[in-house]
Point group: C2
Chain length 265, copies 2
């Protein structure tokens, strides 16, 4: 499941395929998030200079990249068009976006639509709530799965063993320095599946709850999640209210009825 073109252990510089260089370039540009000078790019990618120039030229001609006014590089128009095409053809994501916008408007809470990408929790769409609260993560932001409620749902179709192998050691270390216990996490995933929703508190930061509901595919596997990011001081009553709204929205987007016996235990 590792992406093959980014050898983790060997940042070594070897003769490489042009394609792989391109993929690395784009991927780096995404995590970097801002325009970058070509020299820095060469250093960051640890790629041969002349090849990089060549590739950048090719990509720029094809409008996959653009040069900003101050000579830096970033994504170009073609990628915008391709992204739009993706959205047009991809019902689920399109509906998910609409639902997020609707939820944020209706509840005033910061809402997100998330999917698994690169084996990470990834924000596909988000809309900030009414009160400007904290820093809401941008679209495309990736976070280790154990840090989020959605992460627990997105893994909930896997067996305990599979979960253990998916979560690399690093991912269990929270931003606040604490470490999540692996077995506890496996249990939480299990519980999330049984309940059909998940709530976590103070994981990514100390001041928020994370409240998530799954979107299921035909086989009742969570292919995406909807979630609210809400202040810790939210009342229990309000939390439950939001949870019900979220679960309902998730069900509406799902391709199958939950099939789980939702409220048994």
């Amino acid at each position: 499941m590792q992406t093959e073109h980014t050898p983790k252990s060997t940042p070594a510089i070897s003769r490489g395929r042009g394609i792989d260089r391109v993929l690395d370039l784009l991927s780096f540009l995404h995590t970097h998030g801002r325009p970058i000078r070509i020299g820095d790019l060469v250093k960051s990618l640890n790629a041969p200079r002349s090849s990089t120039y060549e590739i950048v030229k090719t990509l720029t001609d094809a409008a996959l990249l653009e040069t900003t006014s101050d000579g830096k590089l970033f994504f170009g128009k073609a990628l915008y068009f391709y992204g739009t095409d993706y959205l047009r053809e991809h019902d689920l994501v399109r509906k998910g976006r609409d639902e997020v916008d609707r939820l944020a408007l209706a509840t005033g809470e910061t809402s997100q639509f998330c999917m698994l990408h690169d084996n990470k929790y990834t924000v596909v769409h988000m809309r900030a709530g009414a009160r400007p609260f904290g820093i809401s993560s941008d679209i495309g932001t990736q976070v280790p799965l154990p840090w989020t409620a959605s992460g627990r749902l997105l893994l909930s179709h896997l067996s305990a063993a599979e979960i253990r192998s998916q979560v690399s050691g690093n991912d269990l270390a929270l931003p606040n320095g604490k470490e999540i216990d692996l077995e506890e996490f496996v249990g939480a995933v299990e519980e999330a599946r049984r309940q059909g929703f998940c709530i976590t508190s103070g994981l990514v930061d100390a001041y928020t709850h994370c409240l998530a509901a799954p979107v299921l595919d035909e086989e009742s596997k969570a292919i995406a999640t909807l979630c609210f990011v809400i202040p810790v001081d939210t009342s229990q009553k309000r939390i439950l209210e939001l949870r019900d709204i979220l679960v309902e929205s998730g069900r509406a987007l799902s391709l199958s009825a939950p099939a789980r016996q939702a409220n048994l235990a």
Copy 2:
């Protein structure tokens, strides 16, 4: 200015760079506009089969492509993220989109934000008007420059000679079979620049006017346009009213004052 990786005259199949194959693939997928089977892809691209399989695998692993439920290929999540990144960093396009949405809402008319791409008029964003009228072109749609009012504005920084060389013979043939006279077109471009807006009638189809205003960069060159697509039977008064709104919006997005003596002649 031709994209180098698509030799027009030689659809020949020769040993090619992987990168170029990828660019061709993406570009084709965009114009195709729908998921496609890999076999058809091979035929359409006239590319070696084994290489295509290899490339598709690589791109799929990197999430640039995705396989649909019925085994067809289309753009993947990564491209959606890259497109979002583009939008986030690209002020002009972001503002242009907002303005289009605003205009469509305020006037009820179908509105578009357009730019030059691949030497074609390209719809960067659009929003359908209040009355569902005709077929509004999707985002990413490309049309020969002479067919549109925007096209005249987007070329208006060029000399007559440059314009002649930009417009290839094919582009002058309208969908209705008629042919635009090249010199007439050059004149229209000139006039569009002088006036700071442009109106065309019955070009792409017989039932619409196309009304466009430029967005200028620091050197007063049109880098984009805003436009309305309106029914032929719109009253003259209404047209002028919409024109003023559009010109004003274009000015607001511009990086320079029009600098042209707008209403001289």
